[in-house]
Symmetry: C2
Subunit: 116 residues, 2 copies
DNA sequence: TAGATGCATCGATCCCCGTCAATGTACTGG
DNA sequence: CCAGTACATTGACGGGGATCGATGCATCTA
């Protein structure tokens, strides 16, 4: 096995955590950017659709109808998710297939981990 | 033993999760409200200070200096956290002591849980 | 090459958020 | 009571997000 979860030390910490030591301004700003990307119903639904996709990829056109928003609005939200590192797009001919970055999502999840 | 974690069923789910089945509009809006409360550096630092407090309680006056914001601004953010159910205040004479609602925070954390 | 399709960008609009000074409210102490 | 302290609320300002129609760009197809 190539690499474990970094060899967590008792006192150490791999990522800034809300429940660990008090955050400084920079750490807080970085985490806030991540949660800001999650702070919209449309974006959360985009993520959940991606997570539920059998092959882990969804064409942008599959978001417009189900989410009830215009195509520019969907494109806007997908861009925000992309800039936040939560999704990645892959152009294939006319279509762009987006996939979920589960590591990035796990990092935000870890910031809320009770143990710190 | 009184009550386990609700007897999780393979297909069932206790709370809306971003990584489970696609979220409907209502579930997504509810989760988005929670993450919106986390999407600010000042509020994240308030939470982290509360989490790091030895007795789990911090007087509001202890936020103003370290966070470098005015007293009304701090009061504004604490109110948002309170309305989101993430903190609770307890008035004792002149002072108001705030404490962290770790269950509410854990619920948001669970919504990002990889298993669903 | 012309038209159609999928997606991104632009421009405009509306609304909400973060911030602070000023003020209000509640409690304490003299 | 009155002054002071701790916190909340108000009002105003600036900035940015959410939304959509119109438009631009790339690709496919006839």
């Amino acid at each position: 096995m190539a690499k474990l979860v970094a060899t967590i030390e008792p006192t150490g910490q791999c990522c800034p955590s809300v429940l660990g030591a008090p955050l400084d301004a920079e750490e807080a700003a970085e985490l806030a950017d991540g949660f800001m990307a999650l702070a919209d119903p449309v974006r959360l639904r985009v993520l959940s659709i991606l997570a539920a996709a059998p092959d882990g990829e969804v064409c942008v056109c599959k978001f417009v109808g189900p989410l009830g928003k215009s195509q520019p609005t969907i494109s806007h939200h997908v861009k925000i998710l992309s800039e936040a590192g939560l999704v990645a797009g892959d152009r294939r001919g006319k279509w762009v297939w987006y996939s979920l970055n589960r590591e990035r999502l796990a990092a935000l999840q870890a910031a809320l981990q009770p143990s710190g």
